[in-house]
């Protein structure tokens, strides 16, 4: 087939393919830059208006739409009384994700170890498939289950109030990130040569000690990366959290049961309100929240990738 002259062999075809695919690749990179730059420019008035109060205030008030006059700070104005403090949402995102990781990390390591060392290789594909199915369950379905089953269960606990809140969001997030972590940890352990496990066993000690003292430390980078990737995912999770978090506003939870709110959830639930702000500052402040969430997840992901690449280099040999 190659002897036959083909259009694919023409010099133009090489240039065209190289050029077109180059444009596609460029588009992939540009999307990220474009999103960040666009959101940052759009949020600029809010960044100036809110100043550092954005990171210290707990009050989110789009101002009195039915009042008169306006409030101006740093040359940008909003409705009278408007003040945008994001601490409640930033706290909510970090708290729910961190607590979820505290549950999910040991749980996922346990599951991954069982998959690698205790499940017969013949059955492993089935177990793997099930874990992947768990990752495929849509966010709204977890939210649905959380709303209908989990929240009423929590509400039965003494002092738990409505059941919507920090605990419900944490549990749902932990369930959602577990399959992601299990898959990554399983893969890095499987990629690790079996000799480490066997060598450790030969030195004496039990199989569990071999895992905790030799195998897991040897794939430290990969585990850290999987934890960070899952953390990034938890920070950005929207629908499931929105459905069980209780949509707190202006108040931080006093105990583990009380309502919280996260950056991602508040962008969905407050956009409608923001749109009624005729000064537009509320919508721009939501964009500032989006930028903050973007930067946090960006940082977490970059660190994770660096850890993973480092792990590849040192552990891949």
């Amino acid at each position: 087939m190659i002897q036959r002259p083909s259009r694919l062999q023409r010099p133009n075809a090489q240039i065209a393919l190289g050029g077109l695919t180059g444009i596609a690749a460029l588009a992939s990179v540009l999307i990220i830059v474009l999103m960040l730059v666009f959101l940052a420019i759009y949020a600029y008035p809010a960044i100036r208006f809110n100043g550092l109060g954005f990171f210290s205030g707990t009050i989110w008030n789009i101002g009195n739409q039915y009042g008169s006059g306006s409030v101006t700070r740093n040359g940008f104005s909003a409705e009278p009384g408007a003040i945008f403090g994001a601490i409640v949402f930033i706290f909510g995102s970090v708290a729910t994700s961190t607590l979820a990781m505290l549950i999910a990390i040991p749980f996922s390591i346990m599951v991954a170890m069982a998959l690698v060392y205790r499940v017969h290789p013949r059955i492993r594909p089935i177990a793997n498939a099930l874990v992947e199915l768990m990752a495929g369950v849509p966010s709204v379905v977890y939210g649905l289950w959380g709303m209908v089953v989990l929240v009423p269960l929590i509400a039965r606990l003494p002092g738990a109030g409505s059941g919507n809140g920090l605990l419900a969001a944490t549990i749902i997030l932990a369930l959602m990130v577990t399959p992601i972590m299990v898959a990554t940890i399983r893969d890095v352990v499987l990629a690790q040569s079996a000799t480490i496990f066997e060598a450790s066993m030969a030195l004496g000690g039990t199989s569990w000690q071999a895992v905790t003292r030799a195998v897991l430390p040897s794939v430290r980078g990969g585990v850290v990366a999987s934890v960070l990737l899952a953390f990034g995912r938890a920070l950005g999770e929207t629908m499931a959290v929105l459905m069980v978090c209780g949509s707190a506003i202006n108040s931080l939870p006093q105990n583990i049961y009380q309502p919280v709110n996260t950056i991602a959830a508040v962008i969905v639930s407050q956009l409608e309100s923001a749109l009624t702000d005729s000064s537009g500052m509320a919508q721009r402040s939501l964009a500032e929240l989006a930028v903050v969430l973007f930067l946090i997840t960006l940082a977490v992901n970059i660190i994770a990738r660096v850890a993973l690449h480092g792990a590849d280099r040192s552990e891949g040999q």
């Binding site: 509400a155 919507n164 009624t276």
Partner: protein, 350 residues
């Protein structure tokens, strides 16, 4: 290569189909108030039988209704709140009343849901600002002497709307007009900055309010009267509210129309007026016009015609104002004088 040509073909097909879609029947998008939503659905289902128009109804929230009507995403923005002066300055819109609605104050108090508790603006404001924490608070007991001993020592869970909402607007107006500390604090609006109460829950839409209150014992919530059947089914109680004249009244056709009459004659040409906390011995304190927020400039002629025809039908005594539509959602028809004003506004659409 084959893959690329298939892709090109598909793209071409997608582009070709575009003009076809535009040639179809006029389409109207109605979005906003979840309080008006049940009525809109009854209206649209009936109206479409005789008219070649597709109307999508969506229950989002009055905030969305107003903003999407302004941005042109929706043709009809349903709202329980009229637009503010600030919003009108940006884009002048028509605020067209379609019906009269009211709001209940609901609660889920095991054993007491069959009784209409007496509540006042200042007491409800106290609950929502966290000063009144328990159901057996002396201030609640004082209004309910006959059941005072039955009020439980349980924390009140205040439920509020998390979306921009006309229900929040009229609820916070009731509190503002009756309670100076609320007026100077959170004030009123479709979105207000709720006082910091750590166990307070935000819910999405009137349906979300019913759902949350049903599953949360010892809650209090404000829910549109069009959901009365649902709140009854959910077993929630609703309160008799203290009106301007100092009487406790329930939301009934009689008390709602008494309030509408008291302020109806004051309705200005652009029909932006609050009917909350109306004077009169029998006036129910939280009632409002249900508005269609419409842009008076409709460029597309078929959309314009369909929009005017539908809106005119909704306020017609032989159309949308019929008893069979309104009574099932506990709304009241517009008085004749208001129909006239609304009609004049619809005629301004061009």
């Amino acid at each position: 290569m084959r893959k690329l040509s298939i892709t090109a073909l598909a793209l071409g097909a997608a582009l070709l189909c575009t003009p076809l879609a535009q040639a179809a029947n006029a389409r109207l998008l109605e979005t906003g108030s979840s309080l008006l939503y049940p009525l809109m659905n009854l209206w649209v289902a009936d109206y479409q039988k005789g008219h070649g128009v597709q109307i999508t109804t969506q229950s989002t929230g009055s905030g969305t209704g107003i903003s999407q009507a302004i941005s042109g995403v929706a043709q009809i923005g349903a709202s329980d709140a009229y637009m503010s002066d600030g919003q009108m300055k940006g884009t002048p819109m028509l605020n067209i009343p379609l019906a009269i609605s009211a709001q209940q104050i609901n609660y889920n108090l095991p054993g007491l849901n069959g009784i209409h508790l007496h509540l006042s603006g200042p007491v409800i404001a106290g609950i929502y600002s966290g000063q009144i924490k328990f159901w057996d608070d002396a201030k609640i007991k004082a209004l309910n002497k006959n059941v005072a001993s039955k009020l439980p020592h349980h924390e009140i869970v205040a439920v509020h709307r998390s979306d921009g909402s006309g229900d929040t607007f009229i609820f916070s107006q009731y509190l503002s007009f009756s309670t100076p500390s609320w007026k100077n604090g959170p004030g009123y609006g479709t979105t207000i900055s709720w006082p910091s109460v750590s166990n307070a829950v935000g819910a999405n839409g009137n349906p979300g309010m019913v759902q949350t209150c049903q599953s949360t014992k010892y809650c209090i919530a404000y829910i549109g009267v069009s959901f009365l059947n649902e709140t009854n089914k959910a077993g929630l109680g609703y309160a008799a509210l203290l009106n301007r004249s100092g009487n406790f009244v329930l939301p009934t056709a009689g008390t709602i129309s008494a309030a509408a009459k008291a302020l109806g004659s004051k309705t200005p040409r652009d029909e932006r007026i609050s009917l909350v906390f109306a004077p009169g011995a029998q006036s129910y304190p939280i009632i409002n016009y249900e508005y269609a927020i419409v842009n008076p400039k409709q460029a597309d002629p078929s959309t314009r015609a369909a929009l005017k025809e539908f809106l005119s039908w909704t306020i017609d005594a032989k159309g949308g104002q019929q008893e069979r539509f309104l009574s099932s959602v506990h709304f009241l028809p517009l008085p004749a004088a208001i129909v006239k004003l609304s009609k004049a506004q619809i005629n301004k659409i061009e």
